[in-house]
């Protein structure tokens, strides 16, 4: 190579081609997906997240929970995602349209959370989540800095954790979630992808069809 200008222009072209094909291509195909209106339910899906869930998404992001948890269920037969009860169907792009920063994740040191609040037969409730976050479990570290250990003044708080055994606070003390913990729990409890969009049905010939 002798010509510096050609190298420079070649580099720009080499960058432009894959970027337009992959990034702009995907954005063109999926960047403006609407919610899916279901006539039977008179309701559009996915539901818009509540205010606390949207705030909690930023807590999840700031703690980089995605270092250990994915939020994407793969189709039945590819991996054990469905068999583990993480969801009844594969995740599709429409699941994420109202997420400010979807956290698909790349590592599963812990379970997938895409459909945490819609798991069957039992989804965790807010007390389960608080206890898990406070105590940790197995490979999951405790997140005690999301809680406040304090002396009970007057009446015991309604939000206080029901801890038993090792982590039970001393008499006269209680453990209450901070605002960040409430937001995070609100977000986790909003993770529900039970509604099946046309494009998420497992029928083989129609896979990828059904976008409106």
């Amino acid at each position: 190579m002798k010509n510096g200008l050609m190298l420079f222009l070649g580099l720009l072209a080499a960058m432009l081609i894959p970027w337009s094909a992959i990034v702009l291509g995907a954005n063109h195909e999926l960047g403006r997906q609407p919610a899916y209106y279901d006539d039977n339910d008179s309701q559009a899906y996915p539901l818009r997240p509540s205010g606390i869930a949207a705030e909690g998404e930023q807590v999840y992001r700031g703690l980089n929970c995605a270092a250990c948890h994915t939020q994407q269920v793969r189709r039945d037969g590819y991996g054990s995602d469905v068999a583990r009860g993480w969801g009844d169907r594969q995740s599709v792009a429409r699941d994420y349209i109202f997420r400010a920063n979807p956290e698909l994740g790349a590592l599963r040191i812990g379970p997938d959370l895409a459909n945490l609040a819609g798991r069957k037969p039992t989804a965790p409730d807010i007390d389960d989540l608080y206890t898990l976050l406070y105590e940790g479990q197995g490979a999951m570290p405790p997140y005690r800095f999301l809680f406040q250990y304090r002396k009970i003044i007057g009446q015991r708080s309604d939000d206080a954790l029901q801890l038993v055994g090792r982590y039970e606070p001393r008499p006269g003390y209680e453990v209450v979630p901070t605002r960040a913990a409430q937001r995070l729990a609100g977000y986790l409890l909003s993770l529900n992808s039970t509604y099946t969009y046309p494009e998420a049905r497992a029928a083989a010939p129609a896979a990828g069809e059904g976008r409106k």
């Binding site: 970027w19 700031g62 590819y78 405790p142």
Partner: protein, 466 residues
């Protein structure tokens, strides 16, 4: 373009061929190299702490800024933008300067750029520690720091671009193509990440495509080219031979920069995006093997020669090529179902970033710093210890994480195995990875001591002389 850079007889005992590039550009180049080593140590400490947390989740869990997610993000950011960025630019600018035959022009831009780059990186790490990171792999940088990083990178690139434009001969060598690609294209990648993920983010799942493209582009047109620029310059210098099959080097270069950008979607196999995103990535990951084969053919002479620089570059070359083939194999859907989302993926990243890029940069820096300081390294024993600890540590980290990943993958695919059982299954191997991370950190501390000793000897001599 059949000529490799003109080989000169390499006298192993410096002060060999110290040129005006080294004497005139000493201060800014040493600022870059010193920052690189500092970040390497910082990221080593952070990576060691986070690997301990995988074995003992309670370790340091009481502090929010040291929780596992943030520690991994901190270690990765310090490594990529701190170590690879500073070290890669040291090598690239030094090499471009040498091939221009004149002192680096605009050295003050380099000084200012390097200061701002490292200062804003420090701000970025503080931001991640207090929860402003973005949680996108390789792009955890808090949004506010990106414009400063962008501008300071541009300032640092100016001397390199001037040296390239003012090169003595029209003919360009492979090392120059790679260095120029890294100088020009990094700001584009950073700008795409800034706008498409942070400022005016694309909708929902498309962000995963942008994130995948970003991480891959950072690898194929920034980190890998910086490392290859050093290797393509140093190997013919030290061996004194023309690179074999040098005619094909141009093919290897263009395949990397064109095809590499298509391969980002291979981490999205089975994900919520249309199948073409993953399929294109799988096909192009195999196509990219052309690049790895060409690099192997060109640089294989590094395995024949002695000397510290060639040892590091030779092992780096092996890891780099092995990493390329591992990427291809694990991008096949039938393999990915067992390796995706596991520590095997982490092992591959370590193999590429630590094995490939870092070892090649270390080799080039061993060669370059002896000339920039104008004297041989002060302790041969420390060099041997650094080499031994690096080989041991790297092998422990990559092999242990790979085995842990294979066990984890088999367990994950069996819905009957609980996460507690998976943790028990992988723990012994994760302990091995902790030992490897400790060995790598110790080796790098010894290297930093060696550099400090050599620099101190230089300063003493200069003071004595004046």
């Amino acid at each position: 373009m059949t000529l490799a850079s003109t080989p000169t007889a390499e006298t192993p005992a410096a002060p060999a061929e110290v040129t005006v590039v080294e004497t005139a550009g000493r201060v800014p180049l040493l600022l870059l190299a010193g920052s690189a080593i500092a970040w390497l140590l910082v990221s080593g400490i952070l990576a060691l702490a986070s690997s301990i947390q995988l074995v003992h989740p309670d370790f340091l869990s009481g502090w929010s800024f040291l929780s596992y997610g943030r520690l991994t993000a901190l270690a990765e950011t310090a490594f990529i933008y701190g170590w690879v960025g500073n070290a890669g630019l040291t090598v690239a600018l030094w090499m471009l300067g040498r091939l221009s035959g004149e002192p680096l022009r605009a050295p003050n831009w380099l000084l200012a750029g390097a200061s701002f780059w490292n200062f804003s990186l420090l701000l970025a790490l503080i931001g991640i520690a207090i929860g402003y990171g973005t949680a996108v792999p390789f792009f955890e940088l808090p949004t506010v720091t990106i414009p400063i990083l962008f501008l300071s990178y541009a300032a640092m690139a100016i001397p390199g671009v001037l040296a390239w434009v003012g090169r003595r001969r029209d003919l360009m060598f492979a090392s120059q193509w790679y260095a120029v690609a890294a100088l020009f294209l990094f700001p584009w990648i950073l700008a795409v990440g800034y706008f498409m993920l942070d400022k005016i983010p694309v909708q929902g799942a498309v962000q995963a495509v942008v994130g995948g493209w970003y991480a891959q582009a950072l690898w194929t047109v920034w980190m890998a080219p910086l490392a290859l620029a050093g290797a393509y310059y140093v190997v013919p210098r030290v061996t004194g031979k023309l690179l074999p099959a040098y005619d094909s080097a141009v093919l290897g270069f263009w395949v990397l920069v064109v095809v590499g950008g298509f391969t980002g979607g291979r981490h999205l196999i089975g994900g919520p995006l249309p199948a073409w995103v993953a399929s294109v990535a799988i096909v192009t990951t195999f196509l990219l093997l052309v690049h790895y084969v060409v690099v192997l053919l060109n640089l294989r002479v590094a395995w024949g020669g002695g000397g510290t620089a060639l040892k590091f570059i030779g092992l780096g070359l092996f890891c780099y090529v092995l990493g390329g083939f591992a990427d291809a194999v694990t991008s096949v859907r039938g393999v990915a179902v067992s390796t995706q989302f596991t520590f095997f993926d982490v092992a591959q990243t370590q193999l590429a970033l630590y094995g490939g890029v870092t070892l090649m940069l270390l080799g080039a820096l061993y060669f370059a710093l002896a000339r920039i300081l104008g004297r041989p390294w002060c302790s041969a024993g420390l060099i041997r210890a650094h080499w031994a600890l690096t080989v041991l540590g790297l092998a422990a980290v990559v092999i242990c994480l790979a085995v842990a990943g294979l066990r984890q993958g088999a367990d994950l695919n069996n819905a009957q195995v609980s996460f507690a059982a998976i943790a028990d299954d992988t723990r012994p191997w994760l302990v091995g990875a902790v030992a490897g991370a400790a060995a790598l950190l110790l080796g790098n501390i010894l290297w930093a001591l060696n550099l400090a000793g050599t620099a101190a000897a230089m300063v003493r001599e200069e003071l004595f002389a004046s």
